[in-house]
Symmetry: C2
Subunit: 404 residues, 2 copies
């Protein structure tokens, strides 16, 4: 039969990022393309131990249907963690989700009518863009610098789009740029949101993985009018395979969120919720996060040093103080796909910048991940990448001269 | 701030079923309201054993990000199971979801544009109605009898609604009625779908829980044109807390489903997918399902006998050959909410029929669940329910006489 998809489904059947990850997955290729945490850091023995306890102590409860908004003991643990991080919250403000992706999806479904404007950092998390588009959002990108979204341009974008529903921001070690929004701009963002009476979706999967500089309070810390929907996840601080995230919200929103969550998947995996709650009561998760931060700091340092050594002059890159990603900008109108193909010949891979842009793409941009590779692989991979960049720049200059 | 929800969010903040389950949850009340499997049948020791194996053998893989469409070994196990049940399928036809609710949600999101018609059994699963409404569907209910949807009325509904996207059906031991569609009508449904070139969403969470009569081939068995999207789940045959379901589809649809699944929650809990795949390779799940069927058969028999003994003459009820539910129709325009309140005074509860109807509600209807209560509780509860029904019918007749 001929299937007629809804308007929410992308017309295009291509999956550029999927194709890239497939090519990058070849055993010869050193891939900085994914966004995978280091699996050797997963606390497997500890999780195994608490899982046995869950089966022994509350197996029937953990395997049964449960509350849409999540397991109360886990929500309680998260509330405590949130308060330590500058977010006033009780269990009544917290809903468990099947990972941050679902938090984004449910929030978008609840608030975006077709044609509503969503303002995002440019570039930003590509799967958030996919979600916003699927609900018919008009997406407006705001330029960033090293301190995050530029506030004058943000205010201009809000003022020009009276139907703005919310600002979507990843304030810490942003995906894909690795940049962090300054405290001053966080305050300004709240002021703008207050002035124009709009919401903010603060997506913070990486905030706990800071390995340099000082912690900065979340945007929600400055939010006196409870307009910030704050999202975080266990994916980067524990294990992404568990698909557990959470939303901190104005508690008046909980009944609607509960209805929409029930519609989405009834509730998140209850066994896993029990496992993670038990893990947090039996172990100090901050000690575990410290281990992750140390390893990622070391890997980032190795990547930075290799970039300085092997990349040609003129290439710009971000200097993340945490998270998983470095953003690279190669000057001179380089075609990123051509660069990617050259890299594959050199057996190294990244994610090209294109899919992270809501509108006009900056050429020659790409994202590097350092969390999932050994220090040796990082050294070798960046050396290959440096050669590929030089080769591409030279070809580009030659063809550019030829055109004149 | 004043939050402006999208059109997808129900305007009404009331949650009648939630309120009912809250009242029914009182310790004095015998509740036939929920749809919970019997937790004493969960294979806790077996699951614990295979979970330890998963942590030992493939902990890193199980805790890491994974494929959107699901763990290949689990999809393989499901494909084998599907073939035994009359559905030709390979791994390429199967996507794992976070429970059947998500299968319904993703399918609805992918195919329903606002104003498109979805045809459903009347009454039907209320959370499917919620999903269809959230995407702006025009829902048309088709009357049923003991053999399922009436086919002449189905064809009339399809013919009258040229924008029909799909028929949503629960062919086996339907929720809420417990009724099963005959083989003849399944064939007819496919013929109608072929004739009008529309899809069928076949939701089959209960099919394996048959405890009387003969198995009937799924609607998808008759589907030569691959227009049936078949949904099932581990919720009723293993444990609902695990939130794992699957979709069997035309493999041409897989790329779009994969994109939409990734947007929804990246993928379903990977640890749990590994646990269930291991359970299915180490144990015979059919032996486990046999245990469930025996217990539910016994509970249904006890409930049936009690109904025959305690319900007043004239009350109709379905005679399910499997699944979890019996549907009751009290004659004489009885107000179901009034009946519910009388039942609560008698310390017994059910789910009133109202929310299961897409449009006009049949008064005096309600759903009983027998899977989650002991035989003693079923006996006592049905006795109380019989008294409450008699009391309500008498009051109704008195007030009806008074009005004349």
């Amino acid at each position: 039969m001929s299937f007629q998809f809804s308007e929410r489904v992308p017309k295009n059947d291509s999956d550029p990022v999927g194709d890239i990850l497939k090519v990058a997955g070849s055993p010869d290729v050193i891939s900085f393309a994914g966004g995978l945490p280091a699996p050797e850091l997963f606390p497997i023995e500890a999780l195994k131990k608490v899982t046995n306890q869950v089966f022994d102590e509350s197996g029937r409860e953990a395997l049964q249907y449960a509350s849409a908004i999540g397991y109360p003991a886990l929500r309680q643990q998260i509330a405590q963690r949130m308060n330590k991080q500058g977010i006033k919250a009780t269990v009544d403000n917290i809903m468990i989700t099947t990972g941050s992706q679902q938090s984004i999806d449910i929030t978008a479904k609840m608030f975006i009518n077709p044609g509503d404007t969503v303002i995002v950092e440019k570039p930003t998390y590509l799967c958030a863009l996919d979600v916003f588009r699927s609900y018919g959002a008009h997406i407006v990108g705001v330029e960033m610098d090293e301190d995050g979204m530029k506030m004058d341009q943000l205010e201009k974008a809000v003022a020009e789009n009276s139907n703005t529903k919310f600002i979507y921001t990843i304030p810490n070690f942003q995906n894909p740029t690795g940049r962090t929004m300054s405290a001053e701009r966080r305050k300004q963002m709240i002021e703008i949101a207050n002035k124009y009476d709009i919401m903010i979706m603060e997506d913070d999967p990486y905030g706990a993985i800071r390995f340099a500089g000082d912690d900065i309070e979340p945007v929600k810390f400055y939010d006196k009018e409870q307009r910030v929907i704050y999202l975080s996840t266990f994916s980067k601080i524990l294990a992404p395979g568990l698909r557990l995230g959470w939303i901190v919200m104005n508690k008046d929103l909980m009944p609607k969120y509960s209805v929409m969550k029930q519609s989405a998947d009834v509730h998140s995996d209850n066994l896993t919720q029990h496992i993670v709650a038990k893990f947090m009561s039996e172990y100090n998760i901050d000690e575990h996060v410290d281990k992750i931060r140390k390893v990622y700091r070391q890997r980032e340092n190795v990547m930075m040093a290799a970039i300085e050594k092997y990349f040609p002059a003129g290439v710009n890159y971000s200097h993340p103080e945490g998270g998983l990603f470095i953003w690279v900008e190669v000057p001179g109108d380089v075609d990123t796909i051509k660069l990617f193909n050259t890299c594959i010949k050199h057996n190294v891979a990244f994610v090209p910048g294109e899919p992270f842009y809501p509108d006009k793409v900056t050429p020659g941009t790409f994202r590097l991940n350092y969390s999932n590779m050994s220090e040796d692989q990082i050294q070798t991979g960046i050396e290959r990448l440096g050669s590929a960049i030089k080769e591409t720049i030279e070809q580009n200059e030659t063809s550019s001269v030829a055109q004149h």
